[in-house]
Symmetry: C2
Subunit: 254 residues, 2 copies
């Protein structure tokens, strides 16, 4: 059996999320349909994690095992004509047995895009959270700093979360301005259900002046399921990177 | 009766073109449904022209007459919550009786976007023609220059065209580079069915070295329906501007 690792970028607008579902087109189901043709057998893929309907990925990782003998370069080439144009295979590599997109992952990076505009841009409707109000980015960064480190993130978990432990380590959480856009980058060893979107919503409340930066620290301490939060809209969220070496090693090598 | 002029931007990806059709969602049908609620009566709108399925508009013009008394500012404000997010009303103004989005138009500007990339960008699938080959922009501009002036454009008209005269005046036709993008801007007093997309396809053949720039001049002279051409894909095309004063006046005033 060979173990193959794919890196996939997708525009999530047209899909019911990454993960396979009955009676809904998802990114994973589209990938598995293609792989069945290329490998000559149905394969079961594992993603590094789910992304919700409307959420995008710049580099989602997917692994599967197969008896098929197709070279990885041919999977890559064939994908260009077999996949719909909003799903792009960036890389395909054979990896050691036992490597798993989800269980081998050490940390992940998400990006969230906000567009501050006087009127909505119809071409960004699927790709950013569009706000008319101005946001205080410094206050948002002051609040985001409280998230860094190891905490119980129950306060930013939506109900429906299946993970047992809410203790996660956040390595980076920072906003930057790029033209009309405000971009949030958050890196951590794991994320609970809706955690990034709940965090973004809260930080936007801070940016609007409706909450103080220190409220975020106080909220973390409650360790109760998100009652004060609601998830920011999915269309602003991008899974940016999934990393398979410890964060510390990454910091040393870069 | 009041005559009202709207300026509308839309992402055409999700629509069967601008123009009303039976059993298909179009930009015009969405607009008319909203206007019926706001004006208290069904209204019949006129667009400056059709755009095909998948084609976008940065500023399409739409006019209609109504007995409704709703102020234009209220139409604008209400549209923000009543329209889907991929259609944005940019302006609403009362104009003199007899003004007509299509018949009063003097000239129009279209933009066509090509993305030259080693691999497809899933986020641009709906917004540009993506090509892996490099294009010779100078040759394309040399060819485009032959289009300027008054010519019979039959050679760039697809069958299905309903307009009687194929004689049109092109004021500007030029490519420019912007980052990874090649942008074509074409301004003229009228455009035949698929004319811009047929022109772009031909200019891309020149950019690929498959035709000489002077072939475009020779082709214009044939004055026969497009046999050598096929339309470039719709997703790269944007209706940029519709102008209601003569081109000469515009040039003097700017």
């Amino acid at each position: 059996m060979r173990t193959i690792k794919l890196v996939v970028a997708y525009d999530g607008s047209a899909y019911h999320g990454f993960q396979k579902q009955k009676n809904a087109v998802t990114v994973q189901s589209v990938l598995e349909d293609m792989l069945a043709k290329l490998c000559g057998e149905r394969v079961v893929t594992a993603g590094s994690g789910r992304t919700d309907a409307g959420v995008h990925a710049l580099a989602q990782t997917v692994t599967f095992t197969t008896r098929g003998r197709i070279p990885c370069a041919n999977i890559l080439r064939a994908s260009r004509t077999m996949l719909p144009r909003d799903i792009v295979l960036i890389d395909a590599q054979e990896v050691e047995a036992g490597f798993h997109a989800r269980f081998s992952a050490c940390w992940k990076v998400y990006q969230y895009k906000i567009l501050c505009n006087d009127y909505d841009d119809p071409f960004m409707a699927r790709y950013a959270w569009q706000l008319r109000e101005r946001l205080d980015m410094e206050a948002m960064n002051e609040a985001a700093a409280f998230l860094c480190g190891t905490h119980d993130f129950s306060a930013f978990r939506s109900t429906g979360s299946v993970e047992s432990s809410a203790v996660k380590t956040i390595y980076e959480a920072c906003w930057r301005r790029q033209g009309r856009e405000l971009l949030f980058r958050i890196a951590g060893d794991g994320f609970l259900y809706h955690m990034v979107r709940n965090i973004v919503w809260t930080l936007v409340q801070v940016g609007l002046g409706k909450r103080a930066p220190s409220d975020v620290a106080a909220e973390l301490l409650t360790q109760r399921g998100a009652v004060l939060n609601e998830p920011a809209p999915p269309e602003g969220l991008y899974l940016e990177q999934v990393c398979y070496e410890p964060y510390a090693a990454h910091k040393v090598s870069t």
